[in-house]
Symmetry: C2
Subunit: 218 residues, 2 copies
DNA sequence: ACTGCGTGTTACCGTAAGTAACACCGCACG
DNA sequence: CGTGCGGTGTTACTTACGGTAACACGCAGT
């Protein structure tokens, strides 16, 4: 099989793929994660089967789409995380970067967190094995792992550093995510206040806080 | 309209409703969140329209279902949170309770976190308003709020306590959730180790940790 | 001119949500 | 005793979406 002059075809196929992704992007941004393949195809000026030829199935398209945005967001986060500043400032900068991103484009954020799983792919039969754990948004997992490696590289946590770093990576990312999600919905305070509150939490203010006098109960 | 003797009818309707919910529960436990209305109806020994009469639409059924489990889980968490012990022990007990719950019944957990949103409810037209923030699993929100009230009741955080408590409530719940989700998928360590790692994180060990000597970069 | 391949189409299938219309039953009321 | 009437149930349908044939055009290379 000639592997020599396929570049020509491949080039155009890649361009097409990128065009399709951009069209899908527009539709998802407009219609949310429940955008239909028909709508995406229409936006791209073509019809469904082409999408399927390029991406296999809806999951494939969504995965490709998610990866673009995830890559972009991760790059920003890495930049904030690698800035030459002390740890607290870096943490705050990273939190703020994330929150700014989800604030600026909530639709994208929503899409990344809810990859519209489901569909009616067969195997209704006796699926006790289950795939829990795989279902969470890839973005969360990737951010967690990323943060874990940074923590592991930067901090000295004694024995068990590697495992602890992963626990913390996923934990911190989850904290950021849930707080951000809640904040985006209710807007109970400014972004800066939220960042500060979360950083305070990570800085052990929970442990340091005093009990309320005359607590309700005991 | 006579509000007098409706109790009879209402009673039986409520019983029916509970039976339907239990059937739905069995199916969701077996088939995951993508269980079809047909399947649920069949399990209950009836047909679709009855389900729709009782719950309006799939979302209604799922909401009702989710509330049962959420209530149960929240009760357990409250118990752990209210135990007569010092703060660190209570935090660890609560984390462990949550993790034990999702470990014991991952299907339920998965269902609660992914309420199978979507569907093809019309309104394709120029929906720029968006409802970000509402989409997150109700369980997370409720746990966050619950924890927030407990924090606010128990801790003295100075001015802005109320707001800070809510930030922390949602943040901590998110941390617990994301770490639990990751842990459930990869099982990288024992439950106790995870609990300890997270509690350490909350206890400010991140801030206290020393830099690694000769870090990669600067 | 013929062949092969990538790109595109229309037309279709299966499935699932949701609905309309009809059928049965118990029961108060004339 | 018959007759309406609300609740429970059904079958049969519509609509929409994911996914897949099967066919049609255009453009290289031989």
């Amino acid at each position: 099989m000639d592997t020599t002059q396929r570049t020509e075809q491949q080039r155009s196929a890649d361009r097409r793929r990128r065009e399709l992704l951009e069209a899908a992007d527009r539709v998802v941004l407009r219609d949310g994660p429940q955008a239909s393949m028909n709508a995406i195809a229409a936006e791209a000026g073509i019809t469904k089967p082409i999408l399927y030829r390029h991406f296999g199935d809806k999951g494939g398209l969504y995965a490709a789409l998610a990866q673009r945005h995830t890559d972009a967001l991760l790059a920003s986060l890495r930049a904030a995380l690698d800035a030459p500043a002390d740890r607290r400032e870096r943490v705050e900068a990273t939190l703020d970067t994330y929150l700014a991103a989800i604030e600026a484009r909530p639709q994208v954020y929503r899409f990344l967190m809810h990859p519209a799983e489901g569909s009616q792919s067969g195997d209704q039969s006796a699926d006790q094995g289950f795939d829990v754990g795989k279902h969470s948004a890839p973005l969360l997992r990737r951010m967690g792992e990323e943060l874990a490696t940074v923590i592991e590289e930067r901090l000295d946590l004694g024995p068990g550093t590697q495992q602890l770093a992963r626990v913390w990576g996923h934990g911190i990312v989850g904290m950021m995510h849930a707080a951000g999600d809640w904040w985006l919905g209710e807007r109970p305070c400014s972004r800066a206040e939220l960042v500060r509150g979360l950083a305070d939490l990570l800085w052990g203010r929970l442990a340091a806080a005093g009990d309320k006098v005359g607590g309700p109960g005991f």
